[in-house]
């Protein structure tokens, strides 16, 4: 099978969906002219400047105009570059996109088919305002779906699903990227179906995006020490495949959640709470959390490493559930 980068896989997804459906368009900063390895590379040449719409520097307009266009029947893909920049469009994403349909009583079966593309992640010495992974900020807010693909394969299949979804989807990809096999034939990946990245019997670890990569490494290290870790990648947080997680916890009795976002009120707290609600008797140790200990992300690599999850921290957290 071919090997593609995450950007290339997403680029294919956008190209296929834009060919299939003339109501799909992209709006974002710097889409003209095309530059190298990005999800929108080469699209302006094929689809023109109206459908690959280079925007003024206003995340508010990028996200808010996507909401308006969706209400008027199009299927916008709003490219927001970094999740940090999207903080300037939170009223638009959280309140306009997320709450609009409900707030208007689904008036006339109102639909909001929008994809908000956001880059997340640290480990690149970009500092506090270019390194965030604010998954919980969005998951906390009602009405949005949330995709967090790890592999290029998932990125393509989930992005095609996202474009076809009639609801707003926040689509996070890690700025470290990835590369991996992607089939030539068209495929879609449904939302709400977790992938068990590694089967194991001793402890369950839930992780998304680049955290999966780190966790798999930790699992491999622990395997050498006789600890058999199951690694679950939910792929979408909303909807969340909690059943797969709960089933695993019933098997292992231990749970660690790894999250690049800040810990407080984060993904780990939520998954821990849901597992407690559904499988309290199965839990043989408190749910472990590996996340940013509630600090802005510092620039200097040794500091950044101290703050963000690492293989060693994940190993330690898994071990802690076993003692």
């Amino acid at each position: 099978m071919r090997t593609l980068t995450t950007s290339q896989a997403m680029n294919e997804a956008l190209r296929e969906e834009m060919r299939r459906d003339p109501s799909v368009y992209v709006v974002g900063l710097g889409l003209y002219p095309s530059t190298g390895d990005s999800a929108t590379n080469g699209l302006v040449e094929e689809f023109g400047e109206s459908r690959i719409r280079s925007a003024p520097m206003s995340e508010t307009v990028i996200a808010g105009s996507a909401v308006g266009a969706a209400l008027a029947g199009l299927r916008p893909v709003a490219e927001l570059h970094l999740a940090d920049f999207a903080f300037n469009a939170l009223d638009e994403i959280l309140s306009k996109a997320g709450k609009w349909r409900y707030m208007h009583g689904a008036n006339g079966a109102m639909k909001l088919p929008i994809v908000f593309l956001q880059g997340i992640g640290g480990y690149v010495a970009a500092g506090a305002e270019h390194s965030q992974s604010p998954l919980a900020l969005y998951w906390h807010s009602p009405g949005l779906k949330i995709a967090v693909p790890t592999t290029p394969y998932d990125a393509k299949g989930l992005l095609k699903t996202a474009v076809r979804d009639d609801n707003p989807v926040v689509f996070f990809t890690h700025k470290l990227g990835d590369s991996g096999p992607v089939p030539e034939d068209e495929y879609l990946i449904p939302f709400g179906v977790a992938e068990i990245r590694r089967a194991g019997a001793d402890a369950t670890v839930v992780a998304t995006s680049y955290m999966v990569t780190l966790t798999l490494q930790a699992a491999q290290n622990l395997e050498g020490q006789g600890v058999d870790v199951e690694v679950i990648d939910p792929r979408t947080l909303e909807p969340l495949d909690i059943e797969t997680i709960v089933d695993s916890v019933h098997k292992t009795g231990r749970l660690v959640v790894v999250d690049e976002d800040t810990e407080r009120c984060g993904v780990a707290a939520e998954i821990g709470a849901q597992v407690m609600e559904r499988a309290f008797p199965a839990l043989r140790a408190p749910v472990g959390r590996v996340a940013n200990p509630n600090l802005p992300i510092p620039y200097s690599p040794p500091l950044e490493e101290a703050v963000l999850p690492s293989v060693a921290k994940i190993e330690a957290a898994i071990r802690a559930t076993l003692t």
Partner: protein, 316 residues
């Protein structure tokens, strides 16, 4: 082009219906039947001169004030009042209250954050442009709302993309009880248009025919693909900020403006020009009153949503 006598009558009737609707809604706030509030547009019905000229397939985005957006587009007062009373039969099934959408008439909903609708208007116009066609979007906002970054970024984007947006600023001189010079640097919001290389025009907002004329040009321009423009309607709010708010503005000022009431002014002109008779005037008012009474009964008689309805409508 001056509207025909029939169009003038229609316009006058819309203004009266809008006012009676708002008086009805205001009374229902006072009686507590509307559990939220109502931000009255009484005194600002001159804006109908612009709204009235939209085609059925055009779009309107509105801020927070007045009923004339709905009445002018043809929304059903029954469903409007039912919504304000929180009833299941309302436009937003009781979920919205003042957040009302009437998709059939091109009103796509209301932003709770004031000014939040401006980027949405840009998006609707983007959809028109991508699909092709000559629809337009009219986007109404207050002079206070011009302070928001959304207004600026949206006007800039609409101009850059040559979008069919008609921006209509209702400058009523106040944000709540605060007078405009305390929050806007310019006396005329129309001056802002210079920064977007688009036409900006100041109009007497209480002269519905002047508004009509100015809007005609702006709409034609947008329809012809010549991009956005900005109309500023100078007007005055005859009610407090909200129906339950304290009004701290100078009463003498209010009196002076009451003499310029857009409905009274238009009525005098219509009578003078023979388009309207005294009899017709009364008939229009009575019809509007009867209509709004019927709407009120409908709203009162409708049932509240069931608690379980709260769990619907989140996702499509």
């Amino acid at each position: 082009m001056k509207p025909t006598p029939a169009e003038q009558l229609e316009l006058y009737t819309l203004m009266v219906r809008s006012r009676v609707f708002e008086e009805t809604a205001g009374a229902l706030v006072v009686s507590g039947e509307i559990p939220g509030s109502w931000l009255s547009g009484i005194g600002q019905e001159g804006t109908l001169g612009a709204i009235h000229q939209l085609r059925p397939d055009d779009y309107l985005t509105y801020t927070h004030r007045g009923a004339y957006g709905f009445i002018g587009r043809g929304s059903d007062p029954k469903l409007l009042l039912a919504e304000l009373l929180g009833k299941r039969t309302g436009y937003s099934r009781g979920k919205g209250g003042r957040h009302i959408a009437d998709l059939e008439h091109g009103i796509l909903g209301k932003s709770g954050t004031i000014g939040g609708h401006a980027p949405l208007a840009v998006g609707v116009a983007t959809a028109i442009q991508i699909r092709g066609g000559d629809q337009v979007v009219m986007s109404i906002f207050g002079e206070g709302t011009s302070n928001r970054g959304t207004t600026h970024s949206s006007m800039n984007a609409a101009a850059v993309w040559g979008l069919p947006v008609v921006w209509v600023c209702e400058n009523n001189g106040y944000m709540g009880n605060v007078p405009a010079p305390m929050y806007t640097a310019v006396m005329d919001i129309a001056d802002m248009a210079v920064g977007y290389d688009m036409p900006g025009e100041v109009v007497d907002g209480n002269d519905v025919l002047a508004v009509h004329e100015a809007a005609e040009e702006a709409i034609a321009r947008a329809r012809a693909g010549q991009g956005p423009s900005l109309l500023e309607l100078k007007t005055y709010r005859m009610r407090p900020f909200g129906e339950t708010s304290t009004d701290l503005r100078d009463p003498a000022e209010a009196t002076a403006w009451r003499a310029k009431d857009p409905i009274r002014r238009f009525r005098s002109a219509l009578i003078e020009s023979g388009v309207l008779t005294d009899g017709a005037t009364v008939a229009i008012s009575e019809a509007a009153t009867a209509e709004m009474e019927t709407a009120r009964s409908y709203a009162r008689d409708s049932s509240f949503p069931a608690p379980s309805d709260a769990f619907e409508d989140l996702y499509a």
